[in-house]
Every structure is written in C-alpha cells, then in structure tokens.
Amino acid sequence: TGPAASGDAAAGGRPRRGGRLRAAFAGGGANETLDPHQANLFADVARAKALFDKLADFGADLSARPRLAASWEPNAGLDRWTVRLRKASFHNGKPVTARDVLYSYRRIADPEKAFRAKASLEPLDLTASRAVDERTVAFVLKRPTAEFPNLLAAFGAYIVPDGTKDFTAPVGSGPFRFVSFAPGRSAVFRRHDDYWDGPPHLEHLEFLVANEESARLNALLGGQVEYAHELTPTTARTHEGKGQIEIIRLRNSAMQAFAMKTDRPPFDDRRVREAFFLLADRKELVQGALSGAGEIGNDLFGKGYQFYADDLPQRTPDLDRARHLLKQAGADGLRVTLDTSAVAAGFTESAAIFRDQAAKAGVRVKVAMGSKDSYWQDTLDSGTLCCYRSGAMPLESHVSQRLLTASTTNATQWRHKDFDALYQQAQSTRNTKDRAAVYARMQRRLYAEGGFLVWGFADWILGTARTVHGVDRRAPANTLDWARFDKVWLA
C-alpha cells in the first residue's frame, strides 16, 4: 500500500502542508448525500473516500490492498475469513472496532434497503459472522470465496460508526472531517490530524459541483478550482503540454464494447460472433469515438488488471474471413440493430463508426437511439447488439456480475454450466498462480466466442492546476488512488 505518487514527488519537491484544494466534479444535484452507502456517482465516492474508509481498496491493477483491515486470513475451505483491524479512530476520537464493521455491513445488507454494495456483500453470512474481539472480525461465507478481499474493497462498502443513521454531519475514519455540505453545490472538509495513514497535507478540501465539462474546465483555467474531474479527450488534446494546466490520463479506466446477446439469432451462432470480432477496426474506433484517448481492446475485460490474459494475439480487422464466416453461418446480407444512447461518452460515435465498418463486409447495422434514462435496463435482456461500457473492477467481479448463469446483469446472456464451474474452481483455488491459470482458461474461451466485442479502453482524464502535486497518474477510476486527496499537496 502507500502513496503511488512517486513520480510527482520529484516535480513538486517535498510535500507541503496546508492550503485548500477545490475539486470540481459532476454531481447529482440536490439529491446528493453524504451517506457513503448510498454513494452512486463519482462525486459521492470521492466525498465518501475523504470521510470514510473501507476495509480494503483496489490498487492500480485492481487487486485488493488492505486499508482498515491490517490483514486477512482464510480457513482451509476458504469460507471463513478472519480480518484484523488496524488501530484507527473515527473523527470523534472513538476507535474503529469490529462492532462498527459488522454494523456497517449489516446496514448495507439490510433487506429493506437497496444499497448498491448489497449485491457485492451477498456471499457473506452476516448473522453468523461475529466480532472476535475489539479489532478482530470472523466472517462466515456462504461458499468458498478465494477473492474475499475484493468484497471488502467493494464499491460503497464503507465503515461507519456503529448505530449511525443520520449523515447530515457524518463522522468517519477517513483522512478528512466534515465541515459543511450543500447538496448539489459544495462540500467542505478539514484535515483529520489523527488519520491512521498519516494526516493529509491539505488543510481544507472542498468539493464543488459543475455538471458541464466546459464549466469544470473553465473553472480550472480561471483558477476557480485546482482539480477538475472527468474532462473530454478533445480538451485534453487542447491543453496537454501547453503548460497552463496539467492533464492527467488514467489509463484503462473504462472498457468500451459492443455486447452481443449470445442466446438469440444471429449471435447464437459463434461464427457470427467471431465475424463481428473481425469486422471491428479498433484503431478507427478509438480514434473516432474516443478521440484517440484510449487503447485498443482485445475482446477481453480488464487490460492491465490482475489476471488479464495479455498473451492472446491482438485481433485486427479481417473482412474476408468475416465474410467467409458469415457465409458459413448462412448470415450473408445480415441486418442487425445496434442499440445505443447518449448515456455514455463515445456510445453514439462508436455506433456510427461501427455501422460504417460493418457495411464494408455487407452487414447492415441499423443504429437505434435509445432513451438515456433506461438504457441499461432496456438493453439488459432485450435487443441483440448494444453499446456497452464498464468501469474498473476486478476480473472476478466482472465474471460474477456478468458472465455466470446466475449473474444479475448478464448483458451478453452468456450462460454456460462449464464456464460457471470454472469460476467456482477459481474461487476455491487458494494459490494465486493456480487461480490465474483458471482465469486464463476462462478468458481464452471468451476471446474465442464470448459476447463482448471489447474494442477499447478509454482513459479517464483529469485536469489539475500547476500547483497541485501528488496526484496519482496510474490508478484507473474507482480504485484507491483515484480521487484520493490525502496524499495531494499544493506548492
């Protein structure tokens, strides 16, 4: 663990204490909340991260790193895990205890509520789990789970003090303490001097909300904020290296794909799926749809993450073979509808580009604009081909959420008993190397005939003022070092 801002330390010299950093995020308006379990947007997460801690969090390669947990130890069957907490205290001075952990997890899992992390904590049997002593929790799991630490690092699994229900002036164990909050406008936090990971350099941290990208950029350029989250590639190109502001690209932050429904024509034929893999000109897609801000994909999730199968050959367009495959499958003159929507950056653009690419092989793709607000639900079970995107998560989470028979968001309708079995095997494999081998097998299968045509990985682009130092340049969005302000200083 520890700060990963080594590269920057040289540039900014020795970290300096003090100052106020203003960070602009896109927000959720008046509906924003400081309840970390309700965190849903990047802004929510960034705020939650400043005020609270999780037991573990993801490193740049999406492997779990201990945070409040000092260590974790499984039993032989991998279904009981003992977690030791480190010595840490909440902002009110009370220590972080096993009771707080259990309270927090039980709150998340409350059947009456619908907190986002509930699904991630599903493997836990929280009635059976208990506090062994002040700083030791014994977790009981419903099944063997080799990657239990991922669960501790799950999105939104923050530890709050036992009994907390009201979050208007929240108390956490994070690097900053609460000062004020106006939903949809701003949140002001102050340094927590007793932070277990060393007190932050900044004296104050202020989160500001600006939904429009140009507004965030203008505020940054005009010196109204020092940190602007989520800029467009075009902006990055305009200002990169101009010296006015610092552009930071977090690589491999978002998978960009087309999701083919593998259970229905025409994609129930694996030859058609393979043909589609070969139709895509990934370079053109990255250039056009991501404005060059990204890397090409190889039909697999998690480039650069732990367990990623980077030994598989990079796919390149091969229209002849694609045509041949389609002919074999009896699908020449194929017409498909590609669902898209303005719900995410690059979606409509990539759809348009892919339509033109497919046309070259005689496949007629009709681009259908869907409603922005229900796009994900609409495309989950209906349609045949849609634009798809995913933020960073461990490979295990990607598989369990999207590629198992029982997965709740199985957008490619990928349901294979043998594949499920491979996953179980991985989860029961304690040795990391062995587990990597199982994951490699799964990925080979997906590479050959999966439903995700992963054409690229988009950069996550940040802008900071020249005075800001210590911002991590590698952590994909949603990982520990992304939007982490306790290691940042102004100089």
């Binding site: 075009t234 053109e284 303005a342 653009e349 869907g370």
Partner: protein
C-alpha cells in the same frame, strides 16, 4: 423617394445573396458530397480534409454539403406548420367577441406553454418515439401556443377596427376578414415573429437530436453539427463555425427577405411630408379638366 430607390433594390439583392448560399448548398450540396472516406481522428485539421474532421472523424465539408437539406426542410416545415395552426387560432381568438370561446382556444394552449418546450419534446418523444417527420411535427406543436399568442396579440388591434365591423356587415367570410384584412395589417409583426421563430425551431430540432429524439445524433444536419462539435470548438473551429454561419445566413436571409418585402409598405405617411415646394411654379397652363364630374346644379 429617389434616395430610397436603390436602397430598396439593394436590400432585396442583399437578402437574396445571403439566403442563396445556404439554400443552394442545401439543394445541390448532396450531389457533390461523394462517397464517405474512412474515419480519421476526430477534430483534426488538414490531412486532405478541406475543413477538417468532426467529432467522429468525418470530413466536415462533406457533412456540410449533406447537412443542409434536413435543416432547411425540417425548420421551414415546422415553422410553417406551427403557423398554419397558430394563425387561424390566434386570429380566431382575436376576432371572436365570445370571451369563453377565446378562453377555450387559448387556455389549453397555455398549459403547453407552462411546460418548458425541451422537456415537453423530450417527454413526448420518449413516449411515442417519432421519426424525423414526427419531430418536426412535435417541434411545430410546442411552438403553436407561443405563435398563437403572438398572432393574437398582433391581430388584436386590427381586429377591433371599424373596418372589421364594416366587413362583417358586408357578410364577408371569416377567412377573408381574418387573412385578407387582420393578418395583413399585422403582417410586419407576424413576419418578425416568424423569422425569429424559425431560428428557435432550428435549434430545437437540433437539441432534440442531441437528446436522442428525431434526427440521429450523428446526422448530417447543420444544427446537429453545431451542437455535437462544440466540444472541439477550440481544436477545430470549422466544424462549428461553418454550419453555424450557414444557419446564420439562412435565418438572416429569411428575415432580411421579409424586411425587404415589407419595407415601404407603411411609408405613405412619412413620404407625405417629404416633397416641399421649393421653387417658383412653372407657368404651365391649367392641365385640363379634372376627372371630378360636377354634379348638375
């Protein structure tokens, strides 16, 4: 009079010249567009692209050539349609003496006015998923209440003049009274309103396209181009400037044309003050009997 003669012709020429550019491009542009090339990087200048590339790396000039027709057709159609309904409605309510009828016509329209037009389009479009023609219809629809109120306001004074009473007494048909007299009296104001509305409609269609209704979000359509290429405004200004200029030319030309057509209509009263007898009379003889026929005494 003489001083204004060339000015007036000049105005016509100017209006037509400005209008010709977008209209000709819209009309004939698609013929010269040619085949699409491969996608280049987005927002680049040069590289064989006359006006650079747009947000998905297409050639801007080609998009400009292709993008006029939908704009011109949709905007003109929607404006015309809005007026086709609003004109009779507004005139009707200006001309009726039955308050309840006036209210019956105008109050329900106010309901539409109370919902921001973009929200309305968004909501309705999400429910019925219209095509390009449908969206023109929808845009026309949200413009009707507004236009009807404008027509009513502009016509209210003319509708209450004694002439209208005289026309009624002659048993003149409603249409002739309303269009032939009342609308004609308010023509200048209506033209100004229509000209302004045209621009509003253009961008409403474009915004709707961006929000995913009507035209495809990457459609070759000037207004859509302006909207979608805005992110690259500083890297590749042509992708915004070119279509925006064409739209400006279109709306400006239309408005100038209206202006030119209406200039001098109401000149009479002022021209009346113009000629001054400044030189002694020429000693021309009595120019013959006037046409006035004397009544027999």
């Amino acid at each position: 009079m003489t001083r204004r003669g060339p000015g007036r012709a000049g105005r016509w020429a100017c209006a037509l010249a400005i209008l010709a550019v977008p209209l000709l491009l819209a009309l004939f542009g698609p013929l010269f567009a040619g085949e699409p090339g491969p996608h280049a990087a987005s927002f680049t200048a040069g590289g064989g692209h006359l006006a650079g590339t747009d947000f998905v790396g297409r050639d801007v000039w080609r998009q400009v050539l292709l993008g006029g027709r939908p704009v011109v057709v949709a905007a003109l159609a929607a404006t015309a349609l809005a007026y086709a309904v609003a004109l009779p409605l507004g005139l009707f309510s200006a001309l009726t003496h039955r308050r309840w009828l006036d209210e019956l016509l105008m109050r329900p329209l106010d309901v539409l006015l109370a919902v921001p037009s973009l929200l309305l389009i968004l909501l309705v479009a999400a429910v019925i998923r219209p095509g390009a023609a449908g969206i023109a219809l929808l845009v026309a629809l949200v413009n009707i209440p507004d236009a009807a109120r404008a027509v009513r306001a502009a016509a209210a004074e003319a509708a209450s003049r004694p002439v209208v009473e005289a026309l009624r007494m002659q048993g003149e048909s409603w249409a002739r009274t309303a269009l032939g007299h009342v609308a004609r009296s308010a023509l200048r104001t209506l033209a100004a309103d229509a000209g302004v509305r045209l621009t509003g409609v253009l961008y409403l269609v474009a915004t709707a396209a961006f929000l995913g209704v009507g035209a495809a979000p990457d459609a070759a359509d000037w207004a859509v181009m302006v909207d979608r290429n805005r992110t690259g405004m500083f890297v590749q200004p042509w992708a915004v400037a070119l279509p925006a200029l064409l739209i400006v030319a279109l709306t400006m030309g239309t408005n100038l044309l209206f202006d030119a057509a209406l200039t001098g209509r109401a000149r009479g009263a002022r021209a009346a003050r113009e000629p001054r007898p400044d030189h002694p009379p020429a000693d021309d003889p009595y120019p013959g009997p006037s046409r006035w026929e004397k009544p027999t005494p």
